[in-house]
């Protein structure tokens, strides 16, 4: 038999199924993958370095641009870390709206995942439907913050402003309709023989290996690890909500698909509970050292204007110390680690991006499979390069 030699193939950074600017150098034996070497950093903007030169309020807009498919989850993680550092109590209404928005963001992010994942594997119909529903979430974003993606809506101590009156109805209508849409997607995929052929047994990673490589979020739960930060290390009042944490059994792409779909249904339930809990009240903590003053005061009194000027230009000095806050972002554990030296800017802000750590598993999950299965693995890891490269 003649000796065979492997072939090196470059995939990306401009490639429709690498979800952004991910470059993979593949070593192939025919169509079978022998080695995968990811190259990242094409979208590196130095967010951590920039943060060291900005006040705590000024860093918030940078966090929108990490995982740009789930901006409010990033905002939430960051402000919770700063609030922990400053020891600020957040009013209940603000907390409830934050949870509603964080769960809508989970829906949005999972919809984009489902759409692109299905499109990569060849199911085009789902792509169109899922983006239609995502559009509604974008409209809700626009309604409350004025922006579709770069929301910058939360503030240290609460929210930038209260939500408009039509918010409750718009969110409620969407949440009521969503389970029906999810049934539609499942009708198109869950028992579809082509979908099953492409996902069952693809990208298997055992629970032990998954923990060792640091997978978090739905990717870890798909391997059967029953762990969710919202339930196990509750933050922002999640302990007052009832929801199930789904887990998979077979550690493959199909189980991760099931886990994410159940998560979407649970997210709808959490939003519904949030809407039921929503009571009138303040949306910003009464903590003038840290928070911006209400806009009426800024426009109508000299004290308010001075206060606004002080917070906007100087910010606030944080106590010396270090905090870490992890949140269950749609893609896994998103963490913010702040080291403060007592000044108005962080000495160091470290972002622990879920996609970065999850992407490490790509080699383990794809070596020995066909090149087309690698595309399914990229989809199931649900990466976004904005937060990998930061």
């Amino acid at each position: 038999m003649a000796a065979t030699e492997t072939m090196t193939l470059n995939m990306g950074p401009q490639h429709p199924s690498t979800h952004g600017v991910l470059r993979l150098v593949l070593e192939l034996d025919g169509e079978v993958i022998v080695k995968v070497t990811p190259h990242i950093g094409f979208l590196h903007r130095g967010v951590e370095k920039l943060s060291e030169h900005r006040t705590y309020h000024q860093i918030l807009p940078l966090t929108d641009r990490l995982d740009y498919l789930a901006p409010m989850s990033n905002n939430l993680g960051y402000i919770l870390a700063v609030e922990k550092l400053m020891d600020v109590e957040v009013p209940e209404r603000a907390e409830t709206i934050r949870i509603i928005m964080a769960e809508l963001t989970r829906l949005e992010s999972h919809l984009v995942w489902l759409a692109c994942h299905a499109l990569d594997i060849g199911a085009m119909t789902v792509f169109i439907y899922a983006f239609r529903e995502r559009e509604t979430v974008m409209e809700i974003y626009e309604l409350i913050s004025g922006a579709r993606m770069t929301s910058n809506f939360f503030r240290v101590g609460g929210l930038s402003q209260d939500v408009p009156d039509e918010f409750v109805k718009k969110v409620g209508d969407f949440i009521d309709a969503m389970p029906g849409y999810l049934d539609q997607y499942e009708g198109l995929l869950t028992t579809n023989p082509i979908w099953l052929k492409r996902t069952v047994g693809n990208g298997i990673i055992s629970a032990e290996d998954a923990i060792d490589i640091g997978l978090t979020g739905p990717a870890l739960r798909g391997s059967g690890v029953d762990w969710d930060l919202r339930r196990d290390n509750s933050y922002s009042g999640y302990d007052k909500y009832q929801f199930k944490v789904p887990t998979g059994e077979n550690c493959d792409t199909f189980d991760r698909y099931k886990v994410r779909l159940i998560e979407m249904r649970e997210a709808c339930k959490i939003v519904r509970q949030g809407l039921d809990r929503l009571k009138p009240g303040p949306v910003l903590a009464d903590c003038p050292q840290v928070c911006y003053p209400p806009k009426e005061n800024v426009y109508n009194s000299i004290e308010g204007l001075i206060h606004h000027f002080k917070i906007a230009s100087e910010g606030f000095a944080a106590p010396e110390g270090e905090v870490y806050q992890g949140v269950e972002a749609p893609k896994g554990e998103l963490g913010f680690y702040i080291v403060s030296d007592g000044g108005n800017k962080p000495e160091r802000l470290r972002i622990r991006p879920p996609s970065f750590v999850n992407l490490q598993a790509i080699e383990q999950m794809s070596v020995g499979t066909m090149i087309a299965d690698l595309v399914a693995v990229i989809g199931t890891l649900d990466i976004v390069l904005g937060e990998i490269d930061r």
């Binding site: 990242i40 370095k49 470290r350 750590v357």
Partner: protein, 162 residues
């Protein structure tokens, strides 16, 4: 209280000579240990105290603020016990190298590459120590405090002039 933390109690029993400092701030426990004992302590924490998930690994540059310039930070999480622990160890600029944690958690691979890339701390025994975010031919380590924000070949930012 930090003294009652399950990990702190065990660490004080077993490694009392290597513990430099134990701090609790906002309910989070940070243990600073000596660099030469770091590998033993990390493996002990994983094997005996079930800190099976390395959440994060990073560094902090204390240029001009502390005697030892860098501080390595390991954020550990225990999935069975649902608790966190932060281990820190100082690394001096003169001897800017530390043993790799990839032998304990595979997660450390890329995280250490990032610290190597952005801080210039080398990890001895690392299987694949290359730059990860910056290009291979990049000069300097951007997250060091003496690396200018605007980049090495541009005028420093002086704030808005208008």
């Amino acid at each position: 209280m930090a003294e009652n933390n399950r990990a702190v109690v065990k660490l004080k029993e077993k490694f009392s000579a290597s513990i430099i400092d134990v701090v609790e701030f906002r309910g989070e426990v940070t243990v600073t240990v000596a660099k030469d004992a770091i590998m033993e302590i990390l493996s002990f924490l994983k094997l005996s105290l079930q800190y099976n998930l390395l959440t994060d690994l990073t560094a902090v540059d204390y240029l001009g603020k502390k005697e030892e310039r860098f501080m390595m930070v390991y954020l550990l999480y225990s999935i069975p016990n649902k608790d966190r622990l932060r281990i820190k160890t100082p690394v001096s600029e003169a001897e800017c190298t530390i043993p790799t944690a990839t032998t304990v958690w595979k997660t450390a691979n890329w995280l250490e590459r990032e610290v190597f890339d952005l801080f210039g701390i080398a990890f001895s025994g690392h299987p694949d120590l290359r730059r990860i975010l910056m290009t291979d031919d990049w000069v300097g380590h951007p997250l060091r405090k003496d690396y200018p924000l605007q980049g090495p070949d541009r005028e420093p930012y002086k704030g808005r002039l208008s």
